[in-house]
Amino acid sequence: MRIRRKVSMLVLMLFMLSIVAGCSQGGDNGAAQQEGDTIKVGINTELSGPVASYGSNAANGALLAIEEINAAGGVLGKQLDPLSRDCKSIPDEAMSVSAALVGEKIVAQIGPLTSGNVAGSTPVMMENQIPLLAPAATAVNVTVDEKTNKVRDFIFRVCYRDSDQGQRMANFALEDLNVKNAAIYGSTSDDYATGLAKYFKEEFTSKGGTIVAEEGFVNGDKDFRATLTKIKSADPEFIYVPGYYTEVAVLIKQAREMGITCPIGGGDGWDSPDMVSVAGAEALNNTYFTNHYSVEDPDPAIQSFVEAYKAKYNKLPDSFAALGYDAARLLADAIERAGEADPVKVKEALEATKDFPGITGTMSIDENHNPVKNIVVIEYKDGNLISR
């Protein structure tokens, strides 16, 4: 009985503790004591849950950028103070995290990664007039309200949209690869891949191509042979496989093992050093994907980023890491241009971005808050990445 009472007390104390912790978190509404010496930047990414690897890589990229900026003297003579939080890959959690960050007086937020989680965070950022930089949210309606066609004032992104990528690949297939028909076999468990598939299909068919098969897989799948067998019998000239490398690498490997030799294309989700190690150099021959940058790009800025990232995290940076890095650097640049760490001024500076030299391309922000930059089509050739 006594022990039981003690345990109850323990539980109660834990409970109290968590409330106190909760208070201390969102509570310093008026805490201005640090206002003078640092500029707070929120990093709200998926560190747990199904897309934890994207979120943590982007956060790593952003943190690396901030570290470099601080080492070089910071922004406006102040150090950047990154507040990294986990949104659990859930939109409502993303909203709650944003609100907590807003309570901490951040000047802007980087993240989340997926369009859905950015959408969760959006209302809070809009209401509080604090800019949000999405590193990798590619859905068209992230920055523009589709119903009213109005730009979401405080939402920006540093990646291009699903529509851009899907259309680019459709044109590439029709014009450069000279194919007339294609099969689509993409992930159905996220909006990113279904978006790519949708815009690819629209562009491809409107320019005279035909879609001979349309299939889907679910993130986490490991076995694609059943559907591939089916696609093989439809005999397409090209297969579009929008999705993430985690599944795509295995998929391509299995496709080649089954004797599917036609060109295969995809989007930036393919980008990972793991592609070659999982699928194998040979299987990847004759595959193409649209991307932000290539780790093998000899450009010195890219190579120094890759080196720094490798030194700090002991692995190669993928697209998410590069986009997180660019988002943080673009933000620092915008704060510098704004002249003061005021969210609204930073937002205006972001809107005025022109030819910012990011490692994922030189970008300007257009009137819809999307970056204008080149979409690279990358070809795998014997395990090497060749820009087309």
């Binding site: 345990v7 109850s8 323990l10 539980v11 834990l14 409970f15 968590s18 409330i19 912790a21 909760g22 978190q25 969102g26 509404n29 560190l47 747990s48 199904p50 990294s84 939080r85 986990d86 659990k88 859930i90 939109p91 409502d92 959690e93 909203m95 709650s96 995290v97 609100a99 907590a100 807003v102 309570g103 369009s115 859905g116 959408a119 969760g120 959006t122 209302p123 809070v124 209401e127 509080n128 859905a139 309606n141 309200d145 589709e146 119903k147 159905t188 468990s189 996220d190 909006d191 279904t194 978006g195």
Partner: protein, 317 residues
């Protein structure tokens, strides 16, 4: 332990008074801008989680039927309400009613065949149905498939949230503390004996399931109109587990336990945001520790209520 119900006007007035005070106080704090957004969001989460936990507790705790598909009903409610408000541009109340009806209907359709199953077989069947609902939503273009619906107006204001919580608790507590509730509890205690005492156990299992699903639908509607976006992935089986954790942590068959656990888990989740790297590890450790030291849940199957408070006040029954 159920007490016989008498209508006690004084107590009734006091209770209504307490509710009015809580409501007005929070409403004042919000409108005066004293409650920052972060607290407001967590408050909304708490309200939604209370509704989910209390309603699942009706199924798992009082009826003793292990259901792992609660997130599926929440999804049905969320989508039904959004179709009403965002697609058809009807008022929120229509959305709420549609959510409740759609989820209740889903509960009925799923409950009638599956409630013949027992224990873990029922658990897996309900989990399966929950996942089927999610996969189906993912494949319906009308609701944007996996991308979900974005740009839902924020209609779940404090009066709606508070009112919904009060109604949920009231309906379920009133149901449980009635002859119908005793019939439901008898199913949990001993299905065969209950049946032989004239209780149509199937009917009461389905009843509990439908009522539970209905309130999950309500929670879904409130969720959708607070968090701006819904997508099928949000309502996967992990969400069902989250709700189950609250119910078990609070104590199966204790409504106050479910409420306390819903608050506890929501606050804990929010508090752990500050430890991004070890957040889930801490959560896991706390969960396992609490379960080992308090396997019957925080409240067991007892209720914290008038009697307890009565005792505190030195009031003899």
């Amino acid at each position: 332990m159920q007490k016989t119900q008498h209508f006690k006007p004084v107590q009734f007035i006091i209770e209504v008074g307490i509710l009015v005070v809580i409501f007005t106080l929070v409403q004042y704090l919000i409108s005066a801008g004293l409650l920052n957004q972060y607290y407001q969001i967590n408050l909304a989460s708490i309200c939604i989680n209370i509704i989910l936990a209390v309603s699942l507790n009706l199924i798992n705790g009082f009826t003793g039927q292990l259901s792992l598909g609660h997130a599926g009903f929440m999804a049905v409610g969320a989508y039904a309400s959004v179709i009403m408000t965002t697609y058809m541009e009807l008022p929120f109340i229509v959305g709420i009613i549609a959510a409740c009806l759609a989820a209740a209907l889903a509960g009925f359709i799923i409950g009638v065949p599956t409630l013949r199953l027992r224990g873990d077989y029922l658990a897996i069947a309900t989990l399966g149905f929950g996942e089927i609902i999610r996969v189906v939503l993912q494949n319906i273009d009308y609701v944007n498939g996996p991308a979900g619906i974005m740009g839902i107006s924020k209609l779940s204001t404090w009066p709606w949230l508070f009112g919904s919580v009060v109604i949920t608790i009231l309906v379920i507590v009133n149901l449980v503390n009635s002859s119908y509730g005793r019939a439901i509890i008898s199913v949990r205690e001993d299905e065969v004996a209950a049946e032989l005492m004239g209780v149509n156990t199937t009917k009461y299992k389905v009843l509990a399931f439908v009522v539970g699903a209905m309130f999950a639908g309500l929670a879904g509607a409130l969720y959708a109109h607070y968090f701006y976006i819904i997508k099928p992935e949000t309502f996967n089986f992990m969400k069902s587990f989250d709700i189950l954790v609250m119910v078990v942590l609070g104590g199966l068959g204790s409504t106050t336990g479910a409420i306390i656990a819903a608050i506890f888990i929501t606050v804990l989740t929010a508090a752990l945001q500050s430890f991004p790297a070890i957040r889930m590890i801490l959560y896991a450790v706390i969960l396992v520790t609490v379960m080992i030291y308090r396997p019957q849940g925080l409240m067991g199957n007892r209720e914290l209520g008038r009697r307890t408070f009565g005792r505190l006040w030195g009031d003899k029954k």
